[in-house]
């Protein structure tokens, strides 16, 4: 991998194509999870990969390629999310109310989780995905995203609080008033 990075940083397009080929699935999976949108995830990965190619000469330590690339990818996701907010329908969504508990259990939980996840900021989502999907420790996430450790910790803490609230709301008894909602 490091050899490919060094070759690519000296302008070897084939080396970079090999790097892109080796990482595109993982990058897409991350972007797809952060953005919760197939098309925008593709746009983010494409933007991040081409940005990586253009700026690769600035990467001094090839061993840091992966973390550096995560940063580019997450930034590309931030940009895509901004476009999403600015131009897509449903910018205006009054926060989702808890769904009515039902007998479909897991499906209902996942639905709740997805709806709650979409309410997180893209910055919070990025930390959740890097931590729970990639399994990166918070210190690594902080380094990759160039943010203080405390910021990574608070983003995760806040995100989990929102997600936990959604799950807990589903667990409590449902009132007749909520059945109308």
């Amino acid at each position: 991998m490091q050899d490919l990075v060094e070759l690519a940083s000296r302008g070897d397009r084939d080396a970079f194509a090999a790097l892109a080929s080796a990482s595109v699935d993982r990058m897409f999976a991350i972007a797809r999870r952060i953005l919760q949108d197939h098309e925008r995830a593709q746009d983010a990965v494409q933007s991040a990969l081409l940005g990586a190619w253009r700026d690769l000469p600035s990467l001094r330590d090839p061993a840091r390629f992966e973390a550096w690339f995560y940063r580019l990818l997450v930034r590309a996701c931030y940009e895509e999310a901004q476009k999403q907010r600015a131009f897509r329908v449903n910018v205006r969504v009054v926060p989702v109310e808890p769904a009515v508990a039902d007998s479909t259990g897991l499906l209902a939980d996942r639905d709740l989780l997805e709806r709650a996840f979409r309410r997180l900021t893209v910055e919070q989502r990025a930390v959740v995905v890097l931590h729970f999907y990639l399994g990166l420790p918070l210190t690594e996430i902080a380094k990759a995203l160039a943010i203080p450790d405390g910021t990574a910790r608070s983003r995760l803490h806040y995100a989990l609080r929102v997600l936990r609230a959604a799950i807990e709301a589903d667990s409590r008894p449902v009132s007749s008033e909520e059945l109308l909602a």
Partner: protein, 313 residues
């Protein structure tokens, strides 16, 4: 199992179960673009990363550099030129600025002993994630300054909408600009009002007050931040049972120019302040549902109370 364990398990499973393979055309597209994308030279990358070197700033510094260079060259020419009157007085420089009396510390600190906090800007790229005072900047056309309480967040969706909410609650404050109102939120098939409301505060207030299927209070005159307008409250019905809703089962009331919509929930209440800010119609909307917390509602009112407005961005 604790809620936390359950959450982590659910979250991991949910993330793991989402697609992991990139579409084939993605890599193909990247490799195609790669062939025509040059790499940046090392020094250009470094320069681009310095935040102060935005294009306008760079142009400014280049211009200053050119002027400075011209001045140096000019001085060199001046110093090297033959004197027209060898016995005459040498040219004198302007008195240095330091000859002016320096302000004393007391004079400097005097007026700033009780500083007014500078609001943080809210733009497309800068969100409000912490409590504090914020001001909406370009592209939103009105400068709205407001104080965000603890636990609230806000973002600018574009030139027509700024959204402030309390995650985990069902209360929001929105600053928006729009004129598209749906004819009947309970019958989406009717589409938008035709004609759309005119451009005045009264035009929009009258159109909203006439909406069917929504309980609307009569518009009353109001003032906020020194600007006059109309105030009214919309309340959605408790049931949408007999409605033809918008796709996605939304009770749709109005739409911003770029497509964002106001979709009310059952029993949702929206208090609107429609203001004329030097010819720009601004709608300030405080939304809550029957599930909103008392704290959320109090916070929303505090945001409204904190607002000050300036025209033009």
């Amino acid at each position: 199992m604790t809620t936390d364990d359950r959450l982590r398990g659910l979250l991991t499973d949910w993330l793991d179960d989402q697609p992991t393979r990139a579409p084939d055309q993605l890599l193909h597209s990247v490799i195609t673009d790669l062939q025509r994308t040059p790499q940046r030279a090392r020094w250009r990358v470094a320069l681009r990363r310095l935040p102060m070197f935005g294009s306008n700033t760079l142009r400014f510094f280049v211009a200053v550099g050119v002027v400075a260079l011209a001045a140096v060259i000019g001085l060199g020419v001046w110093a090297g030129r033959p004197s027209v009157s060898p016995g005459g007085p040498a040219p004198t420089a302007s008195p240095p600025a330091t000859q002016q009396p320096l302000p004393t510390q007391a004079a400097t600190l005097g007026p700033t002993l009780s500083p007014t906090p500078t609001p943080r800007v809210l733009t497309l790229n800068e969100e409000a994630t912490e409590a504090g005072t914020y001001v909406t900047e370009d592209p939103f056309p009105v400068r709205v300054t407001f104080t965000l309480p603890e636990g609230w967040q806000g973002f600018m969706g574009g030139p027509y909408g700024v959204f402030v909410g309390r995650p985990g609650d069902t209360v929001e404050v929105v600053f928006s600009i729009f004129d598209k109102v749906y004819a009947d939120p309970c019958d989406h098939d009717q589409g938008l009002l035709d004609p759309l409301p005119g451009s005045s505060v009264d035009d929009l207030a009258t159109a909203l007050a006439s909406l069917p299927s929504v309980d609307v209070t009569a518009p009353t005159p109001t003032t906020l931040g020194g600007y006059r307008g109309q105030q009214l409250t919309l309340t959605a019905p408790d049931s949408f049972l007999d409605c033809t809703l918008a796709p996605g089962e939304y009770f749709r009331v109005w739409e911003l120019p770029l497509g964002a919509t106001l979709d009310m929930q059952r029993g949702q209440r929206n208090r609107l302040l429609i203001l004329d800010v030097d010819g720009q119609r601004l709608v300030i909307d405080m939304a809550e549902t029957p599930a909103s917390s008392a704290q959320g509602k109090a916070d929303a009112q505090a945001i409204i109370d904190s607002i000050s407005i300036e025209p033009g961005n």
